[in-house]
């Protein structure tokens, strides 16, 4: 039995939704009332008007199919296949140990995990590829990374076997090859990382031996970003080779050993060689107009743009909209660029309230009052936001910066974060070291946030309260600066960007001022100054600000 056969019309293939009841809606005066609740994933339905309910459990189409284990391949290889491997520098012994199979012109590479074959990738000599249907995604040679202090990752099975041929056993290969440069690969593409999380997190060194081409570089950068660049190493191939198999064929096993020995770390230890950043600098030279990303408010583009690997400190007098503006910025980045965020927002707990506020900003519709957003729109919004926002630190009694970064590190590994929000600084438990004063503590922690942002190419926003409110001669609250933040002048000194959110309200004007007080990289992220925005209390959104007389022009 399916939902279609029961006469239940659904718009989605997963999640929950409300629709009309095939039993009673036609006979009702309010025939358009969506009285039937359906949980598509669970396969259950219930009408809140006539009470009709049931389940289609046994025949519903599952979203995630059960994982199928393939049979072990036949390892009785024809001479031509052995020769084919031999021509590529890989001996019969290595082929035999890897359990390579052959069937109907397809060479089969079995993926062992826990001693069992969980997947088989097959290829023909003319580079056609296929994998076992509905099989588990994991690294090729998964068992060889278990418990290893150093792991080498290659882009293909032949490269992995080339390294085995050269005497390396701790070698694995990604199952699906590289990713297109400048693409935004889905998390499914990296699903094999989940089963390897424990082993990659436990390893001290990860050598990334991807192909020397744009796709290989993109894959290498994304893997290093997720694993953590502090332990990732890159290899350099001879100019006439693009992967390990070519090195083996042209130069032999010793060259592979030389390449692995010469692998160099990502430039994170404070020492950067010109060669480390040469290509990046040339890219920048060739694209002089490459700027940070727009916040989504054109009135702010001149003053503040968002770039990865930076830390922005946001301050402001209480109740002037710091958190609201950060939330609005996050929603804009999600909508315009598909960014993913980890967010610690202690003042917005419990999370359900925060989520509803975010839905208001996301949809541009009110989330309270008589004209509030309907349930279906809210569910659709939450479904989309689920892919982009992960709430951090919701369970612990005391949250420290270290615990936030630990959780962010794991989230980044699993989902690939782009942004991290810590809001506000004063709700985090600050643990000073022996003989450490507040200034030193703030300096040390901001340095660790900076390093984290740079290693993982994440933009971090820290919301911090000022020490106290000061008023001018007219008893108006003065706009605070980052030097006024409780704790230390390091908030100004160590941050890449500093912003104060302040509401300006008088007889002539009523706007939210985004006071950009510091921008480290002005050539790409803007100049210090004031951007003006308007605030809509109904949906919590910020919009472009127009003065009253300017509004009448339109």
């Amino acid at each position: 039995m399916t939902f279609d056969e029961l006469g239940i019309n659904l718009r989605h293939s997963s999640g929950q939704e409300k629709t009309q009841c095939p039993k009673c809606s036609n006979d009702r005066r309010k025939s358009s009332d969506q009285c039937l609740s359906v949980n598509i994933d669970e396969g259950v339905y219930k009408c809140h008007h006539c009470g009709w309910k049931g389940s289609i459990n046994k025949t519903r189409t599952p979203i995630g199919r059960p994982i199928v284990k393939p049979d072990e391949p036949l390892t009785d290889l024809p001479k031509e296949v052995i020769k084919w491997f031999g021509d590529r520098g890989i001996s019969e012994a290595v082929v035999g140990d890897a359990g390579i199979g052959y069937k109907d012109r397809w060479i089969q590479f079995p993926f062992y995990k826990g001693g069992e074959v969980v997947n088989i990738k097959s290829r023909t000599s003319d580079k056609q590829y296929r994998q076992s249907k509905d099989a588990e995604k994991c690294f090729y040679r998964f068992d060889h990374m278990v418990g290893m202090e150093a792991v080498i990752i290659t882009e293909g099975e032949m490269d992995a076997l080339s390294m085995v041929q050269a005497g390396y056993n701790n070698v694995v290969s990604v199952p699906d090859g590289a990713i297109a440069p400048n693409s935004n690969p889905s998390d499914r593409k990296f699903s094999y990382l989940l089963s390897a999380e424990e082993h990659l997190m436990g390893a001290n060194t990860v050598i990334l031996a991807m192909d020397d081409d744009p796709s290989g570089h993109a894959m290498r950068d994304e893997l290093s970003r997720r694993i953590g660049r502090e332990k990732c190493y890159r290899v350099t191939y001879p100019t006439d080779c693009k992967d390990m198999n070519e090195v083996l064929m042209k130069y032999g096993e010793d060259k592979i050993t030389e390449i692995i020995t010469d692998a160099h770390p990502y430039p994170i230890d404070g020492v950067v060689l010109v060669s480390d950043v040469l290509e990046d600098a040339i890219d920048l030279l060739n694209k002089p107009d490459s700027k940070g990303l727009s916040t989504g408010w054109s009135g702010l583009d001149e003053y503040y743009r968002v770039s990865p690997s930076e830390v922005t400190v946001v301050t402001g007098v209480p109740n002037m909209g710091k958190s609201e503006w950060i939330d609005a910025l996050m929603v804009n980045m999600i909508q315009d660029y598909g960014w993913k965020f980890g967010i610690f927002s202690a003042e917005n707990f419990p999370v359900k309230h925060h989520l509803l506020k975010l839905v208001g900003k996301f949809t541009g519709q009110a989330f309270w009052g008589d004209e509030r957003i309907d349930e279906e729109t809210a569910r659709n919004s939450m479904g989309l936001l689920n892919d982009h926002i992960k709430f951090i630190g919701t369970q612990e009694d005391s949250v420290t910066i270290e615990s936030i970064l630990d959780q962010a590190r794991i989230l980044n590994f699993r989902y690939g974060l782009n942004g991290l929000i810590i809001d506000p600084w004063n709700t985090v438990e600050h643990k000073f070291r022996d003989s450490e004063n507040e200034t030193n503590y703030v300096s040390r922690v901001l340095a660790s946030l900076n390093t984290f942002a740079k290693i993982h190419e994440i933009h971090i926003w820290v919301v911090a309260h000022p020490r106290k409110m000061e008023s001018d001669n007219n008893r108006k609250v003065v706009v605070p600066t980052p030097y006024d933040i409780s704790g230390s002048a390091n908030f100004y000194n160590k941050a890449d960007n500093c912003i104060t959110v302040h509401r300006h309200k008088d007889e002539d004007e009523d706007y939210v001022g985004i006071h950009v007080q510091k921008i480290r990289f002005q050539y790409k992220n803007g100049y210090t100054g004031i951007g003006k925005l308007s605030y809509n209390i109904r949906n919590g959104k910020y919009g472009e600000y127009f003065k009253q007389d300017e509004k009448s022009l339109f």
Binding site: S14, R188, L384, D387
Partner: protein, 70 residues
Amino acid sequence: MENISNKTKNHYFKEMEKMPNKPPSDYRMKRMARRLHKDFDRIWLLYEKGEVTFVEWKKSLHKWLQAELI
């Protein structure tokens, strides 16, 4: 269109038929829906080349249509 498989085509049209004629509520949501639409086109091409699975194709379609419904 000759390369597009019946499996994806049928699923696509089935999902399209279910879509209500609803104008977009917010210009930012409209922009997001446009971005997800482009992303879905890209995924569809990758699916035709065998580089992504049907589940991934379906997820991308679902994400785009979800944005269109807001």
